[in-house]
Amino acid sequence: MRHKLALSTLLSVFWLINSGHYTPLILFFMVVSTAFVLWLCHKMNIIDDEAQPLQLTFTIPGYWVWLIKEVVVANIAVARCVWQGRASISPSVFPVKANQKSDIGKVIYANSITLTPGTVSIDFKDDEITVHALTSDSAADLQSGEMDRRVCRVEG
């Protein structure tokens, strides 16, 4: 029930933002289409903790702030490598362990690795992510395991 409420609120807000027309007829269409999508999701059986991760609501904003800071720092480092040329990069491939309990936690971790320039997750088996890193610095950053710990904390 909680998930259905959250999903319909999200869909309505999405509609309201994208529409900009608030006449009764258009608002009626909003209700109809929201109900239709809700019914479809119900039929597809995807209304659960994975599609609407409500359990992350309060823990993820702090993680986002930290992640944005990391992304900015990594961007500057990679931009420096670009202008310094080929000699400044030392690509490496290595596995890192994802210690998250849930699938969604692992996905957040793998996606965060890819979002940060300098590291890309190229393969994922069970709880081991294969990472391609551009420089030894970006590899060392990831291997320190801070991101892993923070995602674990987001999971709660």
């Binding site: 961007n75 990679v78 670009v82 080929r86 690509p91 996606n111 890819t114 320039p117 590291t119 190229i122």
Partner: protein, 114 residues
């Protein structure tokens, strides 16, 4: 006040453009597919992020602001997913990443395509 906002937003737009340009240069400069992904992610993250932030300041309070935020959110999510899908597909089809050993830097080994 308007002038200050204009200056701030232009700073964001110009820095964003610089990162987009850097991403493009990196795409041409880096030696193999996997390192080029890193360059492309420059354009994806700070490039797009800073330009959209600049546009948000230009737009001011209104319906355009949340729309720009949604574009930012979707480009972050879609960009990472696409990068991962491409990298995984390349790995699965046999493209070996070019790896430089610390002892013998610049080994000159070309990535093999099969």
């Amino acid at each position: 006040m308007e002038l200050v906002l204009d200056i701030i937003s232009w700073l964001f737009l110009l820095t964003g453009s610089f990162f987009c340009l850097t991403g493009a240069v990196g795409l041409l400069r880096f030696p193999d597919f996997f390192s080029r992904i890193h360059a492309a992610s420059l354009t994806d993250t700070l490039g797009a992020g800073l330009i959209l932030t600049g546009l948000m300041i230009q737009a001011g309070w209104g319906l355009v602001l949340p729309k720009l935020l949604l574009i930012l959110l979707f480009s972050f999510l879609a960009g990472t997913t696409a990068s991962h899908a491409m990298a995984k597909a390349a790995l699965k089809s046999g493209l070996k990443p070019l790896v430089v050993n610390k002892e013998e830097k610049q080994s000159g080994e070309k990535p093999s395509k099969s």
